[in-house]
Symmetry: C2
Subunit: 179 residues, 2 copies
């Protein structure tokens, strides 16, 4: 299916409430554990989503609209979420994610993007020429990547507990797909 | 981590609200589309979860408690959800899932299972001897398998729209893991 800005906004608007319903007040055995060294817990993933709102999604969309292909995006700091998490509870992060996402969508809606705006081109430091449309579709798919990851990280905690059923549970066959 | 019944219930209790927050009133382009032939849409997955509540999770737990290893579970009908879906909207299915899950958990809590009950053994037609503990842990991991699947099915709809970013999005590398 083609990119549809209203569909993208519909999804982006729901992610904070979906994560809130899944994670708030859940035992820390689910939310703080990881899949191993150098992997993220659900808690860290929410921190990463907040950091993306602050530094990645609307900021880079603004760069496309202002500078087009003449200025490359700054590389995204995959460790940047550590600052977001310091001294905070998961409940605070969930509140913060809902707030910053809501602000991002307010800004996006206020741009009143027309179809020709969505075809505006920007310069990605590794991927080369990209369009604003691709950028916004990626924002929605990025939410889904992390929902996919959270479900996998949490299921991993029961890898032993499920006994022989591990063979039937698709999520336990998923080794992750991040580069 | 070992199976913890309270952790299992905590997760099981949250899944209906998480799916509700994610899917209710979302455009059908997200909820009714699939990954291809013989795959499920988010809508169908909610139907499957309802069918599992009616025929699989507490019913099979009851069989373990009543019959132990002397009676094998009846095979689960993977097409059984089709009846659940007929003539219903996604909003109706989400309401129904919340209701049947709540009933299941009420029944589970009323059993007041002790550690020795969790070690009770049952007979799975293909897997052989399984414990009630493994069965209940699998219920939680099964929710997570389908959250993992829903996020992947939805992300698939934007496979083209994200352009070159598809290489970076883990969920788009996931080919599914069902047997």
């Amino acid at each position: 299916m083609e990119h549809n800005l209203q569909h993208t906004i519909s999804l982006l608007a729901r992610t904070p409430a979906a994560l809130d319903a899944l994670l708030r007040d859940l035992p820390e055995a689910w939310t703080l554990r990881k899949e191993g060294e150098n992997t993220w817990s659900a808690f860290e993933i929410v921190g990463h989503l907040i950091y993306g709102e602050r530094t990645d999604w609307m900021p880079r969309a603004r760069i496309v609209l202002q500078f087009g292909e003449t200025r490359a995006f700054e590389p995204f700091d995959r460790g940047g979420h550590v600052r977001e998490m310091q001294g905070k509870s998961l409940a605070q992060l969930l509140d913060e994610f809902a707030r910053v996402r809501s602000e991002s969508l307010e800004e996006l809606r206020a741009l009143h993007l027309r179809p020709e705006d969505l075809e505006r081109r920007g310069l990605h430091p590794a991927l080369g020429i990209v369009t604003l449309s691709e950028r916004l579709a990626t924002w929605a798919a990025h939410d889904l990547t992390h929902l996919h990851q959270i479900s996998r990280v949490m299921a991993h905690q029961y890898r032993e507990a499920v006994g022989p059923w591990s063979a039937y549970l698709g999520v336990l066959q998923c080794a992750g797909h991040s580069s």
